[in-house]
Symmetry: C2
């Protein structure tokens, strides 16, 4: 039933009936229990311990409001943090990455404490009163700005994701981590406040021969990246605000570049300089890194936009599905995003991509922004899909630039196996009857020709 | 020039010229400086110390990514926190409030660490594995739900403000605090994730005679509030997610009620029970508190929605405007919100409300949500407005329910002087030539008749 929504088939009443059947402790004499619970919490004798016995937290004062003037999450959420591995760090935890627990994400905002963090020289702690932004090169009026002066420009607020182009790339030869956080957590999404660079350039005057902009960081790595003027004059921003407060140090406090939808490494942190020129700079971090190794052994450069992509966040390997049983109606949820525009649709497959049905987009649908999607699904017998195969969950997004996620085979054929960047093939979770969820890669056998190109040998995946 | 936009009069190029004139350090030999700065940061001799001398943070490794797996703001932002006063606490910092620094807000999201916090028995720390939600009374199938069971319902994500109905109310006799945070910071705005109560009731079956819902907290105060079914079945939610992560303890972890646009105290935290009945409960916190004292000495009840309101966040008393000079073009910014719907427009006055011009709404404009607005303004000679009066900044919002903010005189006449709740008259900042900004109340002299009603004596404010 390709592209036909199963949401039309599952009756919504039916869902609720099933939820009721599985859920909760039914209360027999409910009105009695209710008044007991309100009037005398120590009544007991009903078996619903947590309600009738007064829990410890209801018997004493809580914390005063003076205690946490800048708050933190509950101690019971201690497991929801950014994470790192030695494998990703190459032994250096300063030039490394800490990834976002997107399996726990809700809505489209990533809280600042969980926003993924990548640096090339560690997290700098910059004094905003000492920091300056220098704007030089092919501008009529080069300037050095204090942070106060920069913030005089008219501000703009936009919600965009930032994604490392290596997101998912470590997995391309086959899953390395049975983890959504480590396979796709190299991204986050936030509400950003700052100024469009095009508005600054209206002020300074850009010379017509300027074709490229260098952004340079003020940290020890002097991260440098070059951006074509067409993008600079479209929607590139200098931002100082994230989710309603100042950028965090690990996000480039006091200012960073934001290049909506494009590779995260272009969003240079601890920004101290913009320079304008006729040619790209070919900095270290846009030649030795963040370039794409082709089957021929040559390097492709000037790939910028993160292509249309999606993932199933629930269920996913870190989510406990041990209580989910055959016949349950569950909400399958995920994220979709495109650096080229707005998500137009997400399809979901239960057989690893042979057949797709349409999922629903939920909440705000904004350009170059996470978009949440959902599908109500009845768990089949023995967790096997209707055609007898195991349950294989795959999502596939499309965007208003006209793109749709490729299969793994399509991507292998088009891009080869060397490049770790910009891989956006569909991703699959295998769900077993005990609730175990595994990352599997569905691809055909392949060989390579004399030029290194991938030749698919057999299979239909 | 009432209602005529001055944005049409200030030429945008002109703005940028003026910014350029005041801003930054112009660089004479810019290309030389640029290459110097890149090639040899120790060159010096230019006078632009912060650029040419390598700052300390650029000379050493920053923090490893392993250091803050759940991050915090920069140490330089230590002053941006929630705040409290003894005056608001009545000597008890558990039954008190900590208010949001909305003068520092950006966009429409308040980060969770700064979201205002009000409790009646202190902040409870609840174990979600032990916590239960009991749903009782006039439902067909009363239930007790674990948190896992509750989260099986289809989730929804919405961005809404929460506002204490006392927001601004302490100021009604005249400004007590020369502070935006203390006068209007009893509110914040976030992206919430949870379930519509109407969806749970489809499951449980609501009896037709049910007219009111009680929400009861599981903390030591047993905060209880009653909500009419019409609102419950419209958009009331049980939420567990805030800005993409679990609720913080001070926001009711693991679950709270969200009653979009209505009094914040209805959004019962640490929610443990919903009960349905034919009559309101008249709990302590909806009789002794959160009711409205009328001039007659009687109490009005069943006021729920926060009326249309607005404030100027920049400039405001806490914002440093000492560097702002006559002739500068500045962005005046603020927030508008309505618990009855969507903001349709904001007007701004420079003479305390005699004349208004239209401001621009910025970014997302959503129902029952903060809406940010902006106006580009040229600072007049001696900070006096064109008609020779002092500069008095007043904003006035309107909503799609057809309401517009009243003047202080209109509000005094309509509501009297006793009630501290639901005051939404326009607010005024006086701006002086040294950049000093003060909260002033523009109202006429009044007397009161034998029934306590306010009679405006003179004036035109």
């Amino acid at each position: 039933m390709d592209k036909k929504s199963q949401n039309d088939i599952i009756d919504r009443r039916d869902f609720f009936k099933k939820t009721a059947a599985l859920a909760g402790t039914a209360i027999a004499g409910s009105s009695i229990l209710a008044s007991n619970a309100m009037a005398n919490e120590h009544a007991g004798g009903n078996g619903e311990k947590a309600i009738l016995e007064t829990p410890e937290w209801a018997t004493k004062w809580g914390d005063p409001i003076t205690k946490n003037l800048y708050g933190m999450p509950s101690k019971y959420e201690h497991n929801v943090t950014r994470r790192y591995t030695k494998l990703l760090a190459s032994g250096n935890f300063r030039a490394s990455i800490a990834v976002t627990p997107i399996q726990e994400s809700m809505g489209i905002i990533t809280p600042n404490g969980l926003f993924f963090s990548r640096s090339h020289g560690g997290v700098a702690h910059i004094d905003p009163n000492e920091h300056r932004l220098m704007i030089t090169g092919l501008v009529e009026k080069p300037l050095v700005l204090t942070m106060e002066e920069l913030k005089r420009y008219p501000s703009v607020t936009r919600t965009h994701f930032i994604e490392c182009p290596a997101n998912g790339g470590q997995e391309w030869r086959g899953p390395q981590y049975n983890s959504l956080q480590f396979s796709k957590g190299f991204m986050s999404c936030a509400e950003w406040t700052g100024v469009y660079i095009k508005d600054i350039l209206k002020d300074l005057g850009i010379k017509p021969e300027a074709q490229w902009m260098l952004a340079e960081g003020g940290d020890s790595s002097k991260m440098g990246r070059t951006i074509p003027m067409e993008k600079v004059l479209d929607d590139a921003m200098i931002v100082w605000g994230q989710n309603g407060e100042a950028l965090r140090p690990e996000q480039g406090y006091p200012i960073r570049l934001l290049v909506p939808g494009w590779e995260g490494n272009l969003c240079v942190k601890w920004l101290r300089r913009l320079d304008f020129a006729t040619e790209p700079w070919y900095c270290k971090e846009e030649t030795s890194k963040y370039s794409i190794l082709k089957p021929s052994g040559k390097i492709a450069q000037h790939f910028y936009a993160n292509e249309v992509n999606s993932t199933v966040t629930s269920p996913s390997p870190e989510i406990d599905w041990s209580n989910v049983k055959e016949g349950d109606v569950v909400e399958i949820e995920g994220l979709a995003w495109s650096g080229m525009g707005t998500i137009t649709g997400v399809d979901i497959s239960f057989d690893g991509g042979k057949n797709y049905v349409e999922a629903q987009l939920k909440g705000l649908v904004l350009p170059k922004c996470w978009t949440r999607w959902s599908y109500m699904y009845t768990i089949p017998k023995d967790f096997k899909h209707t055609d007898g195969n195991q349950l294989l969950l795959t999502s596939r997004a499309s965007d208003d630039a006209g793109y749709i996620q490729p299969t793994v085979d399509q991507e292998l054929t088009a891009v080869g196996v060397e490049a770790v960047y910009h891989r956006n093939a569909v991703e699959t979770w295998r769900v077993e009857a005990d609730g175990k969820i595994s990352h599997v890669q569905l691809r055909s056998e392949y060989t390579r020709d004399k030029d290194g190109n991938v030749i698919i040998e057999k299979g239909e995946a």
